[in-house]
């Protein structure tokens, strides 16, 4: 910008808006000052002021420009479609694998049921009725057998968007995973709720159809809550089988009080209702291979 230097000489010593002068200059004299200078020079030399538009170098540059434009557009657009394709293939693979897992789990549960009935049959033939009852009781308490009975159903859902954390995804703020700031249910919320259920006397619990066992973990991975390593979709429905006092006992437990605080403080939606006959599925648990009973 050689035009700027001679302007500076005539400028008052200190521009009050010195920091803005760059933008003002830009807006006032957008065209390259070299054009004006060159025109003045040619005028002084007696030449025509504006040169023609047919010089070979101009045409060469213009062709180069068009070429570069087309190249840039095509080069910058191709990777995005490739990226999309990779993304969709990855997503479809995830879905496929999840389907495989679900099918295998179903098969395991089916086979387990079969094993159970065969076991009962075999035990009945050998007059082991008490052993069969004991096995069923053990299965019910460990979560290896599907159970049914009276209990409560508690659904917990994220605060509706537009309240507390409007527009912001709290998961994107690092370090908020353990607190339920901004109206999203977190894994630790669910852990406390489940603890409250156990405390209230629940005998069997499932979250969104995932039966909790001694090996179950409620954890978070990114934005999702995982139970038994399966990602869950909100609303989170905690079904618990337990005594009739379970409902009030849960309300008085630490988890129940915490949940109440979440609902009033962050707008998390909860709904607790009693159910006369709940059905909880069996968990898919690998049999212990290394741990042997000491007795």
């Amino acid at each position: 910008m050689s035009g700027a230097t001679d302007q500076q000489a005539t400028r008052p010593p200190r521009d009050p808006a010195a920091s803005m002068s760059l933008i003002t200059e830009l807006m006032k004299n957008p065209v390259d000052p070299a054009y004006r200078q060159e025109a003045d020079r040619r005028k002084a030399a007696g030449d025509i002021v504006s040169t023609g538009r047919r010089s070979p170098i101009l045409i060469a540059v213009v062709i180069l420009l068009g070429f570069a434009l087309a190249t840039a557009v095509s080069a910058l657009r191709v990777p995005r479609t490739q990226l999309d394709r990779q993304r969709t293939t990855l997503i479809s693979r995830i879905h496929q694998e999840q389907g495989d897992i679900a099918a295998s789990s179903r098969r395991i549960t089916g086979l387990r049921g079969e094993i159970g009935t065969l076991q009962n049959k075999a035990l009945a033939r050998n007059n082991g009725a008490s052993t069969a009852a004991q096995l069923n009781a053990l299965g019910a308490s460990t979560g290896l057998v599907a159970v049914h009975g009276p209990g409560v159903v508690l659904s917990v859902d994220n605060a509706p968007t537009g309240s507390a954390g409007a527009g912001v995804d709290p998961r994107h703020q690092q370090g908020t995973d353990t607190t339920s700031a901004e109206g999203q249910v977190t894994s630790s919320d669910l852990q406390l709720v489940v603890d409250g259920m156990w405390q209230g006397g629940a005998e069997a619990i499932a979250i969104n159809g995932q039966r909790l066992t001694a090996q179950s973990a409620i954890r978070s991975a990114g934005e999702a809550i995982l139970v038994n390593f399966q990602p869950l979709q909100p609303p989170y429905v905690v079904s618990a089988i337990g005594p009739p006092s379970l409902r009030s006992a849960f309300g008085d437990s630490e988890g129940g009080i915490y949940l109440h605080g979440l609902a009033s403080g962050y707008g998390i939606r909860t709904n607790l209702s009693s159910d006369g006959s709940l059905k909880l599925p069996a968990a898919v648990v690998a049999d212990p291979r290394y741990a042997k009973a000491t007795r």
Binding site: V31, D32, S50, L58, V62, G66, A75
Partner: protein, 110 residues
């Protein structure tokens, strides 16, 4: 007219030849294209002002592209590449806008 035809010819050439851009060049492409567009709009405006000069156009075009790419390169080396390319785009975008406004005033007297 002839420069416009040349531009279209170059565009078609690029679209049909579809050359591969090496990966290291790709961060500089958008900024270089914006710089080139700035030079073009400056040239069109000076043409309408009656002070066009092919020499100035060629020199400003090439230097614009090189300087824009250089700034982005420097930014990349300093770890502020995206911010600096934003700065380049803002500055050149401002120039393009006011040049286009001047061209519009010339053509439509509005």
């Amino acid at each position: 007219m002839i420069p416009a035809l040349g531009l279209i010819g170059g565009l078609l050439l690029g679209l049909f030849l579809h050359p591969d851009v090496p990966l290291w060049l790709q961060p500089y492409l958008p900024v270089a294209v914006i710089a080139a567009l700035d030079a073009v709009f400056g040239a069109v405006r000076s043409m309408l002002d009656g002070i066009f000069s092919d020499k100035v156009f060629v020199v400003s075009f090439l230097s614009n592209v090189v300087v824009a790419a250089l700034i982005v390169f420097m930014g990349d080396q300093l770890g502020v590449g995206s911010q600096l390319s934003t700065a380049v785009v803002v500055v050149l975008g401002l120039r393009i806008f006011s040049n286009v406004a001047a061209i519009r005033r010339h053509l439509f007297h509005a």
